[in-house]
Amino acid sequence: MSLHADIRADAGALVIEARLEARSGEVVGIVGPNGAGKTTVLKAIAGLWPISRGKVSINEWVVEDSEAGIRNPPEQRSVGMVFQDLRLFPHMSVADNIGYGLRLRGVPRKQARVLAEPLIETLGLAPHSKQKPGSLSGGQAQKVALARTLITNPQVILLDEPFSALDAESRPKVRRDMSLYFRHPDCTTIIVTHDPMEAKALCNRVIVMEEGRFIQEGEIDRIADDPKSRYAAESLGLNFFPGVAAGETVDVGGEATLSVVGEHHGRVIVSFHPRAVVLHQTRPEGTARNVFKAIVRTVRHENGITRVTTAGSLSAVAEITRVSAEQLNLRPGAEVWLSVKAAQIQVTPL
């Protein structure tokens, strides 16, 4: 077990209670609405937020324990944090920002610049390495913030919405490049994100946090199957399928191929909202291309909406009105046809 945190902290009116365990090499996502206390959990682990009681240990090393009176300051924790508001050093060049952690470890300035070069190159920051952060675009600044933390090889990496300032085009590439660093087997990564696609792409499992508490934890697909809260259903209860795109179709495995809008190639994630899934008792007539046969697994009613999970060549989740659910006579084990319009499907390159 690499990271163990069992903490209680006050964040204004909100009381935060979090129990988190993560292995080395694991990437854990924390998702939740604004103000749920996600950032505070990260700060508490980093030693930047006081805990009222609890314990944090990294690789069996107790860095904080309120009962034993142990509290290591943030600089002694080997916990790297990438802040949502980046917090770059405004008076240092891009290269010196990235090399700062190395210089703290005794590497001379010149050598730190040399060591930072490959990372700067990978991130496409080379033309800007002598600039001050103030003149960078949002995406570039975010890359600097990531690089500055990753270069120090911390045992725990905490990322607070680390890709939010990147545009949709550069996000997958940066995410891929960066994940090489934090997928390191000796490193535990915790990512706060509100982007389910990101959680799907990066995390081994996710924790849903609301009002200061962890309310659900597990693999993202399992949570999507059975979300314990409205937020989890809304944000994670999407249909995700990793697949391989070839032009206007995506092979998502299991003999299922989805028609999508636009040209795509290579590894992608396709996603669509459960509301975009239409259920039929018999094979639908007409031109719909994305039609699949499946078996109903679960049926759950909530506030006039019925959430149906299915198993088949495309095991999708559907949300339909209760009235139509009753008309379709849905019950676990029943045979059902589902269809999705190509225009409702989102394709994200991996």
């Binding site: 980093a46 930047l48 943030p74 600089e75 802040f83 917090r87 008076h91 700062y100 703290l104 933390t149």
Partner: protein, 254 residues
């Protein structure tokens, strides 16, 4: 109506300056500057105001840090105390210093026993100037150290492994550089212009405690020409200070 009053205000501010500048006896500026009394007052003023600024920095910057970063009971009282010399009449400040450091004063008694006399020495000038000018430095630096941007950037440095002293050197000081410079310049300018506290606590001894402002006042009675030249020099210095600080003050408004 408002425009008229505003124009009147500009006239009110400008007339005294014009009065001084139009009276500069250009023919005798050179000889006045060569005058031994003028030169020694100038030298003394530069020296004491510089030392006063150093003293204010050595004591004031740590206090600014504590006020900005440490939570403790009675903090608002300490802050009031630190700012008080800025609003209290300088003569009263001088009187208070005299009573504290004088022969029978709170501290003076002890100092006298070990053979130290402070009042009416150049040291007294430095103390009086530092006492009155320090609040300018403390206010400027405290405001900068309270900046949440600086504090958050320090946190980022800490998470990268920077110890408190490294954070101070690498992050806090560079990020507070402008405020620090402004505070030091303001403090120095106030020390340079100090009159009331100095003449009360340090007196008016030529070459020992007679600083520029005191020399201007003394010269006014006997040699008005010297007073005008000395006064003009102080005025030019004030303009230079404004020039140095222009970015800081005028950019803040933009």
């Amino acid at each position: 109506m408002f425009g008229l009053l505003a124009a009147l205000c500009v006239v009110f501010l400008a007339v005294p300056l014009m009065g001084l500048l139009t009276q500069i006896p250009w023919d005798s500026v050179r000889s006045e500057l060569g005058n031994r009394d003028v030169a020694s007052a100038l030298k003394l003023s530069l020296l004491t105001s510089l030392f006063a600024t150093v003293l204010a920095a050595v004591l004031g910057i740590p206090l600014a840090w504590v006020l900005a970063r440490v939570q403790f009971r009675g903090k608002s009282f300490v802050r009031s105390l630190a700012i008080l010399p800025m609003v209290m009449p300088p003569v009263v400040a001088g009187l208070a210093l005299l009573l504290a450091f004088g022969r029978n004063g709170l501290i003076g008694k002890g100092l006298t026993k070990i053979g130290l006399t402070i009042p009416f020495t150049t040291t007294a000038v430095v103390i009086a100037e530092a006492f009155v000018a320090m609040p300018f430095l403390i206010l400027a630096v405290e405001a900068a150290l309270r900046s949440s941007q600086t504090i958050q950037t320090e946190e980022a440095a800490a998470s990268l492994g920077a110890s408190p002293s490294r954070r101070l050197l690498d992050i806090t000081l560079p990020m507070s550089k402008a405020a620090l410079a402004a505070g030091l310049v303001l403090c120095w300018a106030r020390a340079l212009g100090e009159f009331g506290a100095t003449i009360t606590f340090a007196g008016n001894l030529p070459a020992i405690t007679r600083t520029m402002p005191i020399a201007v006042y003394v010269a006014l009675e006997r040699r008005p020409q010297s007073a005008i030249v000395l006064g003009s020099i102080l005025l030019v210095v004030s303009f230079l200070v404004l020039f140095v600080l222009r970015d800081r003050w005028f950019r803040a408004q933009a």
